[in-house]
Amino acid sequence: MSDLVATALGMIVYALIIFGFLALFALVAVYLERKISGHIQDRLGPMRVGWHGMLQTIADTLKLLFKEDIIPANADRLLFKMAPYVLFVGTYLVFAVLPFGPGLIGADLNIGAFYIVAVSSLVVIGMIMAGYSSNNKWSLYGGMRSAAQIVSYEIPVGLSLLIGVMMTSSLNLTRIVDAQIVGLGGMDGIFGWNFIQNPFAFLAFWVYVVAGTAEANRTPFDLPESESELVAGAFTEYSGMRWAFFFLAEYANMWVVSVLGAIVFLGGWHSPIPGEDVIPGMLWFLFKVFTIVFLQIWARWTFPRLRVDQLMVTCWKYLTPIAFANVIGVGLWILLF
């Protein structure tokens, strides 16, 4: 009996640690985003709060905590209140199987990749709830667009992750990383990484990056919250901590997309320099994840956004056929070489 209690306590503690980590990552990522966007736009970004604005996000979080909680008059109160949590849960559940470094994983499920793709679909429900319950036509538009977008882009994402699974013959994330130790020409380092093992995997990596950006609702795919058209789309009527939860979920999503990209395509925590093992794996892992995060931030401040039908065309007419071709190509490659 006390075994059960201990396990339950362990799970709760782990969940809280993950939540704390997410909050920390959101802090860092928001600061990074504001600084990087500032420098891209020929300005400085936050400079006053703390040294070069480092404490800015903390100040913003405090402000959001104290903000008045406004619920629109004719909104569906229950759905309105539950929507941020449902959305967050969809992203949060993924963290149970997401590794943070060699051996640092919550539950080393044998069906890790499959679990992730399945569970991350829950966010759609949260978006639709938010859009519908706000009693605001613009939010409704945002919610509908978002549902269509997330559901559609899961397919190229899933197919691209399938490439990694095929090359490793396993859905277990740790095994996928470990299979990338040795690769091209028997060399380790960067030559072991999945994304350069064959041309189809290389293509699949870029399909994954594009589709992953769409999954995370980032420009050029940020139509659900396109600021210039829908104010904030599905989240227009949310204020204070409720909105902060959506924001947290968006950055958590960004983290998930980047981590999966690093694990499946970029060799996880293995160093790119062949034969080197001085720098801890965790640092390489963070470096790769933040590279993909940086790519997403960079893309957001450079490109205009796609219209909703162009977004759908990109997914169904371009990314999905390319992803299918990749799967077939990788399969043939593995068979023949």
């Binding site: 104010v231 490109f303 205009p304």
Partner: protein, 373 residues
């Protein structure tokens, strides 16, 4: 399965909305995401400019005229001052004419920069907006150096100017032009030739030439539809006929004539042409002359009515002035180019998606201050 009962949804865009350029309210009738009808509801920025002008003496109207199209204040002043000068037959000194052209064209560049930046913002590109405003800051510095104001100047008076230029102005303007002309290539690579931007704006909101003429659309919007009409060349006022520059028309290079991309690109190229004009004016600027010598003591036009038009960055800006022989006008009516440009939105916006309405509205480059007056 029984027929699904679907209805059109009437949705309100604005008056507070990130993308209506000012307090504009658009009532959209939509069927899903497709817009079937647009009805602009105006008046949120109405400040009774025309009524006020009946109680002011002629020179006193100039600050009010500034505030109508606040992004092109110099051009507004210029049009009004020229209207009164034509009425009274005042001869303007050479130096004043050259300075007026320089400021009018600098203001044209500033206005087009805002149009370009906010258009990028409308389609989701955040960065070009800041680049455009970086250049615009340099122009506003030039204005502040001359008359003390950044946005609303009260500078071009009937018969002259309110201040002469400071020493160092000419050099600063040359520096600005040298800095600005390469920047247009930067804008082109960031936005104009960007595939996503082209997808969003080419072939969208096509305005055929006859429709444009029928609705009274003027300015870059008209020229983007292929109609070769620019008041600076076709009805020359001030000393525009002394300069060598081209009128920019739309092209079929990317998309079709009269689409959003063309309306945007015409403005980019017009900025280059304005830079050319400014250079020529600076080269030939007469060095001496009092800018205030021709300003009349009292302005008392003869009885009658008079219409004068000039080329605003947005189109044909017209002033219809009725004088009853006194020192205050009986009526000043401003023909607002943005209002006539906006009137075409139902025609070209129906049948497009909501996201396209934002792009089309941005390409029409409206300023509510001028529409509502």
């Amino acid at each position: 399965m029984r027929d699904l009962h679907t209805e059109e949804m009437t949705i309100n865009m604005g008056p507070q909305h990130p993308s209506t350029h000012g307090v504009l309210r658009l009532r959209l009738r939509t069927d899903g995401e497709v817009v079937t009808g647009i009805e602009p509801v105006l008046g949120y920025l109405h400040r009774c400019f025309e009524k006020h002008s009946e109680n002011l003496e002629y020179p006193g109207v100039i600050p009010f005229v500034d505030r109508c199209d606040y992004l092109a204040a110099m051009n507004n002043d210029h049009g009004y001052a020229m209207a009164i000068e034509k009425l009274l037959g005042i001869e303007i000194p050479e130096r004043v004419e050259y300075l007026r052209i320089i400021f009018a064209e600098l203001q044209r560049i500033a206005s087009h920069l805002v149009a370009f930046g906010t258009f990028g913002l409308d389609v989701g590109a955040f960065t070009p907006f800041l680049y455009a405003f970086r250049e615009r800051e340099m122009i506003l510095d030039l204005f502040e150096m001359t008359c003390g104001a950044r946005l609303l100047y009260n500078y071009i008076w009937v018969g002259g100017l309110s201040h002469d230029i400071q020493p160092g102005f000419v050099e600063k303007t040359y520096n600005f032009l040298d800095h600005f002309e390469p920047k247009i290539q930067e804008y082109n690579s960031l936005l104009t030739n960007n595939k996503i931007f082209i997808e969003r704006t080419a072939d969208v909101g096509v305005l055929p030439a006859e429709v444009a003429i029928n609705y009274g659309v003027t300015g870059p919007q008209l020229r983007a539809s292929g109609v070769d009409w620019d008041l600076r060349r076709d009805e020359p006022y001030s000393i525009y006929d002394r300069f060598d520059w081209d009128v920019i028309l739309g092209s079929e290079k990317v998309g079709v004539l009269g689409d959003c991309w063309n309306r945007y690109y015409v403005k980019i190229l017009e900025m280059q042409e304005s830079a050319k004009i400014i250079r020529q004016a600076l080269d030939d600027l007469p060095v001496d002359g009092d800018v205030q010598e021709a300003i009349p003591r009292k302005i008392r036009p003869p009885k009658g009515s008079f219409y004068f038009r000039s080329e605003n960055p947005r189109g044909e800006l017209g002033y219809y002035i009725i004088s009853d022989g006194g020192t205050k006008p009986f009526r000043v009516k401003m023909r607002s180019p943005a209002l006539c440009n906006l009137s075409v939105i139902d025609e070209i916006g129906s049948g497009w998606l909501v996201a396209d309405i934002v792009a089309i509205l941005g390409s029409l480059d409206i300023v509510l201050g001028e529409i509502d007056r």
